[in-house]
Amino acid sequence: MITTKHLSKRYGDNLAVDDLTFSVAPGEVLGFLGANGAGKSTTMRMIAGFISPSAGQVSVCGHDIAKQPVEAKACMGYLPEGAPSYGEMTVGEFLDFVADIRALNGERRRERRALVIDRLGLSPVIDQVIETLSKGFRRRVGLAQALIHDPQVLILDEPTDGLDPNQKHEVRRLINELSKDKLVIVSTHILEEVHEVCTRAIIIANGRIVADETPSALEARSRYHHAVSLRFEKADDLAAARREIALLPEVVAVESDARELRLTAIPKPGANVLAGVGALIERNQWHVPELHLESGRLDEVFRSLTEPRGIDSSAAAELCA
């Protein structure tokens, strides 16, 4: 269980984190989203006990991080941004060091060490010096370090950054597996990850929470929620469909892409356009090899919540003039 109350961090005049209050329960995987510099890492560092907040409280597993830092840190596994470690050590030595400092011993130590090495595929590099490893392996060493003591709470700052698609998939599977009885906080700016991994997403912008919902609820905020996308084979069909679909009463807008021969019909909030579009296709005998019902586009929701409004369009206009 993690609770933060009115958490703030100020650097000089800059308020990096501004009055965050939330709590996360075991079983939840919380995705922490935000643009670069929004305050994600600062918040995670405060929860992990690396930096102390300017105001507010953090409690982890019932321990206040300011008053009982050692107890709170003992029940946490933390992967800092960039997965730092001691470059001159071999992977095996490094894991031994972490096991020592986490006071693991005996049978359990052997078991946990073997388990994380196996799960993260570290056995081929176990005797290799960490600074000679690829970025992907270093990230996995960082994850192994965070998992070795089987913590109740896992804080992962961009765990899949720099991994190839297979490794990303593997890490996401690992997080999904862990999340059954643990509490995981993951920061990321890969939005597809949110859907695959998280049960809940918090979006922060300028140090404040701008959304705290399930990934599907976030998607439902998108104007593309329940939009219908079609692909045509003939340009004539596309042109005709563009005209006709725009006339449907449920449709608020139609976007089309002439090169790809794609068209997206955006519904009025709460309306269903699928039936209307389907009827039109049948009546006009259009040839439509692809048809999707969209659940919403997270990147669009993300942009609308985190982008400073008005700056982009006016700046672009000025540049053109």
């Binding site: 050692v70 003992a74 800092p80 050590m89 060091f97 986490r102």
Partner: protein
């Protein structure tokens, strides 16, 4: 306490993970020998003691100890591993003490490897071995003093070169404070009490007595207090600057 040991072991091992440790020890031993025999005139003095060996230690340490201390925190900050260390279930104090003891132990190993000079003087004559042991203890304590200063300055930066230079500078001030030249100069401007105060802060004043074989409780207290002060300063600096 065992957490201090874990940090200590990792740190000490990391010295020997790179050639730096061996290079350092070789340079230290060569310089110690050159100063003792060439500059100090160990053989010409025709006396069976190690005065000509120990009297150069403050100067050797001034240049060489910052090379040991510079990486202690600057490297951790630069690589980001400090974020890991500070989020392990240990206290800041355990991390500071563990690292300091590792660096001190490394300096102790280098110092212990000068044992041939002790054998030499025992072979050539019959020195007062008690005085030599006392001088070794004094030299080791002084190394700890230099190290604790260097460690604090290493915590203040993420650049090892800056850590080296500032440690050498501050160490130089602590050495010079006891020099007659400097003391005579300030005696003209400041009252005697302050001059004594400055002199009593110097490594020289305290090491000089011990290196002649006299272990005075005051000198022991001085070095312990000095180390304690700079370790506490390290903790304060880290707490303020670790995330920058």
């Amino acid at each position: 306490m065992s957490k201090v040991l874990v940090v200590f072991k990792r740190e000490l091992r990391s010295y020997f993970a790179t050639p730096l440790a061996y290079v350092f020890i070789v340079i230290f031993l060569v310089l110690a020998a050159v100063f003792t025999f060439q500059v100090g005139g160990f053989l010409e003095r025709n006396q069976s003691d190690l005065q000509s060996f120990f009297r150069w230690h403050p100067w050797l340490y001034l240049v060489l100890i910052p090379a040991i201390s510079m990486r202690l925190w600057a490297e951790e900050r630069n690589s980001g591993s400090i974020e890991l260390l500070m989020t392990f279930p240990i206290t800041l104090w355990q991390a500071v003490v563990g690292k300091f003891l590792a660096a001190w132990c490394f300096a102790g190993i280098a110092l212990a490897l000068t044992f041939p000079v002790w054998i030499t003087v025992n072979y050539l004559g019959s020195p007062d071995n008690g005085a030599i042991i006392a001088a070794y203890v004094g030299s080791f304590l002084m190394a700890g003093g230099f190290l604790s200063i260097g460690m604090c300055l290493s915590a203040a930066t993420r650049n090892q070169v800056v850590a080296f230079i500032t440690a050498a500078l501050v160490g130089f001030v602590f050495l010079l404070a006891g020099f007659p030249l400097v003391l005579d100069f300030v005696r003209g401007v400041l009252p005697q009490a302050i001059v004594d105060g400055i002199a009593s802060l110097s490594f020289f004043t305290h090491f000089d007595a011990i290196s002649k074989g006299v272990i005075d409780l005051r000198d022991l207290v001085y070095f312990t207090a000095l180390i304690g002060f700079w370790l506490a300063a390290t903790a304060v600096v880290l707490d303020m600057k670790k995330a920058e």
